[in-house]
Each structure stands twice: as C-alpha cells, then as structure tokens.
C-alpha cells in the first residue's frame, strides 16, 4: 500500500511517500505565503519522484501541520500533534511523551496507547523558536548551522520569556560590543529555557521515553541545553524533521 503525508509547517513543507510502512521517498521545501499551494505541489512531486511512483499510485494523502488546509488534494487533514505522536510510535514503540519543537511552536503530548493523554502547547507569549533563531542568524550574518554549534551558557544572557525582548536584548549587547558568538549562545540558551517552560507545563510529566521531533532537533546547541535544563534524555530519531509527514503517511495507511 502506498500512502503519502504532507506536513505544511510555518517555514518548511515536508512530504513523505510511504510504501508498506517504510519511507520510499521524501522531500522538503520552503513554505511560502500566497504561493503555498504551488509550493506544496512542487515538494510533493519531488517526493513522488524520489519514491519512483506516480501520483495515481498513491492511495491516500493526509496533510498535517499549520497549513494542512492548503493541500487541496489531501483526503484528510489531521492535527500535527496526532501525526507527531504516530511517528514517534513508529520510531520508538515505547514512547511515553512526544515533544515537537518547530519554527514557532512547541507541542508536548503524553501518550497513552492510541490516545493522547495530555497535550500542551506553548503560550503565545513564548512563541518563536526556529524562525526566531533564523532571523537572528541572518542579522548576525551567520549560517543556521553555525548557530546550532554555539552551545551556552555563554557570558551573557537575554530575555528567556519573549523573543521580541530577547531580540532587543541581543541588539543591545551587540551595541555594546559583545561578540556575536556569545550573543548567539545566549539566544540558544534562552530558547531552551523557554521550551523547558512548556515541558514543565505538563501536569504529570512522563519522562520515561521522550521523543524529540521537529526542526529544532537540527540545532545541537539547543537540544543539549534543553537536556541539561530539563534533565530529560531525549530520543532524537534520524528522521525527526520529517516526523509529521511520516506520521501523516502512516495514519493514511491505517
């Protein structure tokens, strides 16, 4: 059985084609504004090509992510948390908690069999993770890979609650001649504090097997800081970035 999952995130579109429970092809691309339906189609076509199948061969497509309704051809639109939970179960059958940290939001869900027992999302005041760091990297003329290597805690700190203030703090530090690398360390650290705040929001944290998914898994400095602050050892699957799409494709096969 061939199914496909498309995860339309705030910043990137991820598409996965699955053949009998295994990933046959995947692709990703920028998730634009108005042009998004076209971008979705392009990314989907790439994934199909990678899998070596035709659109007609795919039995069911499920879309997920913030922009799930922009996929005109999907049979169903499911919540990204549900897709992430499904993917986490595929990667790590013993999973008890799934954490999805992306461009803007952090989702934490504790899993009980097929159901999500408890689910929390970051408060709006603490939104802004990947996208924020990317913006700051751009501001400091750094690549996002470089940012991911600068592990804190550094010599300075920035606001750990609000990214708008954090940016102001960062600029202020820059103004006073602080080294950009130190500032970036502080930014990574602040993001980790912010994310931990949402992890702590779960009423009964189940830290047995915590699977970490989403784009921010690519930022090593951040994940290490988060592990240090929260005291949780995360399981980070290799396909963490594609988790939403994989989950959606697997749900389509159910």
């Amino acid at each position: 059985m061939i199914t496909a999952g498309i995860d339309v995130g705030l910043e990137y579109i991820k598409a996965v084609v699955m053949k009998d429970g295994a990933v046959a092809g995947k692709a990703s691309g920028l998730s634009g504004g108005v042009g998004r339906p076209a971008a979705v189609q392009a990314v989907y076509d790439q994934a199909l090509a990678a899998a070596g199948v035709k659109a007609g061969d795919v039995e069911k497509v499920i879309s997920t992510g913030k922009g799930k309704f922009d996929v005109a051809f999907s049979a169903d639109q499911l919540s990204e948390t549900v897709a992430a939970a499904k993917a986490a179960k595929i990667f790590e059958p013993k999973v008890t908690t799934v954490v999805d940290i992306g461009a803007d939001e952090i989702l934490v869900a504790t899993i009980d069999g097929e159901k999500i027992k408890e689910f929390v999302i970051n408060q709006k005041c603490t939104a802004g993770l990947g996208l924020f760091l990317e913006g700051m990297a751009d501001r400091f003329d750094m690549s996002i890979e470089e940012v991911g290597k600068l592990e804190g805690p550094g010599s300075v700190t920035v606001n750990d609650g609000c990214v708008v203030f954090a940016e102001l703090d960062a600029l202020s530090l820059l103004n006073r001649g602080t080294d950009a690398k130190e500032i970036v360390k502080a930014l990574n650290e602040a993001c980790a504090w912010r994310a931990n705040s949402t992890l702590n929001d779960i009423y009964k944290p189940d830290n047995g097997c915590v699977v970490l998914l989403g784009g921010m898994t690519q930022n090593g400095a951040f994940t290490k800081a988060l592990e240090r602050i929260s005291g949780i050892k995360f399981v980070i699957p290799a396909e963490a970035v594609y988790a939403g799409a994989i989950g959606a494709a697997a749900l389509a096969a159910d």
């Binding site: 919540s79 990204e80 689910f119 999302i121 709006k124």
Partner: protein, 436 residues
C-alpha cells in the same frame, strides 16, 4: 470513530420568546430618558425610572456584533489611559461613552451614575470610574466581601453591616440626587421573582447534568442567559419565561430529545466563554462533543452546592433568610443580602467553589473533558485557572487550555489556533470530525 446521529434533535421553542424579550430590552435602553445606572445592583431595579445597563454584556455585545466599532472604542479608551492589555468589556463600553455614539451612529445612552463592584474581578472595582473621572457623575462602590475557608460567624457580623451600608447609601443618594423614589414593594417583588428564577435555573442545570443526551447545550443556554438580568425590571415576565424554559427542557429530557444528535463527549468550561467567537461550540459539535457550560453559566441558580448524592442545591447562606420581618427599607436590604456577607457568587475567590467545586461540577455534569480559557487581559476570568486545570486533571478529566485576550476583546484570540487546538484535542482522543 465517526458515528451517525444517535438521538433525535429538535429546534428550541423558547427561542422566539427569548428573542422578543431581548429586543424589548434593547429598545428600552435605546429610548432611555431617565437615569441610567451602571453596575451589578439589584436594588436599582426597584427605582421605576432607573435602568441598569451592565458594562460586561454591553462590551461583549459590542465586540460580538461590530468588531471595527469595538476596536475603535477600545482605542478611545486606551488613549485616555485605559491599558490596552486590560479588560475589553470596559474598554469597549466606556470607549463607546467617550465616542458618544453607538454602532449605527445614534447617540450613546449616557450613563449617569456608576456602581462598581470589586472582588469578583479587580477590574470591576474600576467599573465606570473612567466615566466618573471625566464627567463627574456619582459613584458608589458596592464592596464585595471575601475570605477563604468556611463560614465565620465572627467575621461575618461587621462585613454584613458594611455590605448593607454599601447598598443603602446609594439608594438614599439616588433619591436625593436624582429625585427618584425607591419602591420597597417593588424590591420585595423582585426578590420573590429572583427566588423563583433561581429554582427554575437550578432545575435546568440538574436536567442538563443528569440526562444523556443532554436536552440543552450551553450554547442554547447562553442565548437566554442574560434575560434573567436584563428583565429584572419586570419580574413577572422573567419568572414566566424561565418557567417556560424549564418546562421545555424537562419535556425534552423526558423524551430523549438531544441538543447534539451524536453526543459522544461531554465537556465543561470555565466561566465566561469568548463571547465574540461562539462558533467553537458548533465546531466541537461536529466532533460529537457537547458543552454543558461552566459554573458561571449555571450561576443563575445561585451559588451552587453539590450534594454527595449527586443533586445540586444552593448554598444555604446565600438564600434570603425566611420569615424575617421586612417593614423598613433597611430590613429589606438586609434580607436581600442573605445570611452570609461573603459573596458566594464570587466563585473565583472562594476556595471551596474554585478548587473543590469545579471538580464536583465536572463530576455532576458527567464531563469527559474541560476546556479552560486563559485570558491575557482579564484578571478575574483567569485567576487560578491553571490551578483548576490541575485539580481537574487529578480527577481524571481531560483538560485543555486555550488563550485569548478576554471575552470582550478578540485582539489576541487566534481563532485558527483555537480550532487547531480543538482538532488536536479531539483527534488525540480518537474522534474525527463529521462535516454535514
């Protein structure tokens, strides 16, 4: 897990009557030439020429009906000193007074006195004060009294006297300043009517709680909710209307007429809903999830007490004491305050109601889940909401929080984020939306 319709549904018959009553009230305030008061004051209805308009429903309605106008009103408030992250009900309502016109351009019914009331929400303590600051109208603080823990005879005495003073003073002042007459007989009638309405409201709550499928959803209840308060001026009509509602709900319950045909998931809320975005009730109904309301929604029946046998009563101390002599004005006011000075409707403060009663409420309502709004701009609406969520989770109720500004201000309510969260909540529990 998509299922077909499980139960029969029918439109509500009291709907038209409710519409008629509301329209009548709307008309009555548009043509006011008499004194318009502002605040939560039952005594005011015993002045034939005083109309009470509360800023909370007015503010909520402004946001609900005309977003650009409400936004403009809030801006008018903001530039005069009202914090933009503060209660939208009052930002809207008093902004309207500053603008001087209502949505369609006709003159704003100017308030001529204000009666603020703290404790339920601190922002109520400042209710209408802006108008008082700018227009020098009389203001009477109607102090509310709170303390946690059980009823305390020792504390009660002085507190009760204080409360009685806070009601008597404005009555005497209104007579003096505006030359109006307070009618003692009218006051007694209102209290009588109030007692009956409470009985009916309590019964409706009970029917919603105990019947599966529920004969009424809170969405329907809210459409008649304000009528108790709005028609205080006409106790007979109010009582008759609530009897009508009660009878219909009872008939529906007896005949298994459901409010939501595929009821599979029962959920409760906390206190005021987002008045400007009531669509989420219907969205949840597509998942077969019915909202049974909040303690706030069922407040009409008086401060609730949930008995161990599963029935709902009213806390004894909040009742008017029976058999007390009511010959003087002071007597009447004394009786109207009940036995306990503490505001038993101040559910956000009273420890019992807030902590234990929300769990009991969930149990009585046979709720599977709770959707607790957390409002950025409303202190009274948000106070301890997160804690309540924890008590509910402890009791095995599935809880989800969502964010917004405040029930009268949709600035920060991200509708799509709310819908996405509802999707997650329901889909995570294995439900799928059924679009008709």
């Amino acid at each position: 897990m998509a299922t077909k319709q499980l139960w029969e549904t029918r439109p509500l018959e009291f709907w038209n009557k409710a519409k008629e009553l509301r329209a009548g009230w709307q008309k009555s305030i548009e043509s006011v030439e008499n004194v318009v008061g502002q605040g939560n004051c039952m005594w005011a209805s015993a002045f034939p020429a005083v109309t009470v308009i509360e800023d909370n429903p007015v503010g909520a309605m402004m946001q609900n009906k005309n977003e650009p106008y409400a936004r403009k009103a809030r801006l008018a408030s903001e530039i005069r000193g009202w914090g933009r992250e503060i209660c939208g009900y009052q930002g809207n309502c008093w902004g309207g007074q500053f603008l001087g016109y209502i949505e369609d351009g006709t003159p704003w019914p100017r308030r001529r006195m204000v009666v603020p009331m703290p404790c339920v929400c601190d922002q109520h303590a400042k209710r209408g004060q802006q108008a008082r600051d700018f227009e020098n109208m009389p203001q009477w603080m109607a102090d509310m009294v709170i303390y946690p823990g059980p009823f305390d005879e020792e504390r009660n005495e002085a507190l009760l006297e204080h409360k009685i003073y806070c009601s008597l003073r404005p009555i005497n002042d209104v007579e003096r300043i505006f030359g109006q007459r307070f009618s003692e007989d009218r006051m007694k009638e209102i209290m009588e009517g109030n007692k009956l309405v409470r009985e009916y409201a309590k019964e409706i709550t009970y029917l919603m709680a105990q019947t599966i499928p529920s004969p009424l959803s809170v969405k329907d209840l809210y459409s008649v909710y304000t009528i108790g308060g709005l028609t205080k001026v006409d106790p007979e009509a109010t009582v008759a209307f609530w009897k009508m509602v009660r009878d219909e709900v009872k008939w529906r319950a007896d005949n298994h007429i459901a409010a939501v045909g595929n009821e599979r998931f029962r959920w409760i809320e906390a206190h005021p809903p987002s008045w400007h975005y009531m669509k989420y009730y219907r969205y949840m109904e597509e998942y077969g999830a019915i909202c049974l309301g909040s303690q706030y929604a069922h407040m009409m029946g008086g401060a609730p007490e949930f008995k161990p046998d599963g029935s709902i009563g009213v806390r004894e101390n909040s009742q008017y004491p029976d058999g007390t002599e009511m010959s003087t004005r002071e007597d009447i006011i004394r009786v109207s305050q009940g036995k306990e000075a503490r505001s038993l409707n101040a559910f956000k403060i009273d420890e019992y109601i807030r902590r234990d009663a929300i769990v009991e409420f969930a149990k009585i309502m046979q709720a599977d889940g709770a959707l607790l709004a957390i409002w950025r701009h409303g202190v009274g609406c948000t106070l301890t909401r997160k804690e309540q969520g924890m008590y509910l989770k402890e009791a095995g109720v599935n809880v989800m929080h969502y964010e917004g500004s405040q029930p009268g201000d949709r600035t920060d309510l991200d509708e799509k984020r709310l819908l996405d969260q509802l999707d997650t909540w329901m889909q995570g529990l294995g439900f799928r939306r059924q679009v008709n």
